[in-house]
Amino acid sequence: MVSMEAKMTEVPELDGAETEGNVGKSLAWIAVAGLATVFTAGAIVGVIAAATESGGSLSGIDIAIVAGMVAIIGALIYTQWNLARRIRIGGGPLTIRERLNRNIMVGCGLLGAVIGATLVATDGAMPSDPQTIFSDSPLPLALAVLLAVFWGVIMPVIAWFWHTRAIDEQEANAYRDGGYYAAYAYLMGAPTWWFLWRGGLASEPNGTLIFCLFAIIWTAVWYWKKYR
């Protein structure tokens, strides 16, 4: 039986595309595993909150469920780490530009996690519906100002730095194409929804959902153009 230590240090076997330097598949799986990690963490919070809601404590079954989910998170984090190794190995070591690119991505991911955790932690601070990242319920003033400054002031600086220093022309091209597809989807999709709503055929257009679809289309096309 191969020991865990040996497994951790042995070089992963790369497939054809990875050997040629195409790391898109590994990156996609890291994103999927990352999302699964976030959702599993959210489920743990949910189980604990439900059990302790009325001043009670965790039952044996609750503890078993939480332990199982912690194990799942551990497996997901190990998977992400292993996939990151494949990315590092495929096509040789990261270039300086790629390292900067990765560091900014990781930094933004951590900032996003902090924002998400803050929103969850302040849940119930205001007398309203339960808050979620995309809910319209009121936020404490200080948090609202902090998030607005982050999104409206800090993010543009990061984006400027990102586009001028961290990405190369192939990725810039992929971003540009993604922007075209997303812009056309928005220009055609949003009014279509609006007309259908006015005709009584659809629910009222939802700005948050439109924003999310715009971002998803942009990201999907960027990924396709960069890693196809």
Binding site: E20, N22, G91, G92, T95, R97, Q170
Partner: protein, 70 residues
């Protein structure tokens, strides 16, 4: 557009990362150019040509035969 980038890189025994470092692009960009999925900009094409001390048309081939088949 077809190109000889992979062959030229292999002749010099450079990894995609080494070539990417010399061209100031990512490994992914080198891979995309080598596999013909991305055509480099004119400045990058010149940079590649200078790096290998060749003319652009000796590295890249757009399939135009000079109108010989017209």
């Amino acid at each position: 557009m077809k190109n000889r980038l992979r062959v030229l890189r292999a002749e010099r025994q450079w990894s995609q990362a080494e070539l990417g470092e010399r061209l100031d692009v990512s490994r992914q960009a080198v891979n995309a150019i080598e596999t013909g999925k991305y055509d480099p900009s004119l400045p990058l094409a010149f940079k590649i040509a200078r790096l290998f001390d060749m003319r652009i048309e000796e590295i890249f081939n757009d399939g135009f035969d000079g109108g010989k088949n017209d």
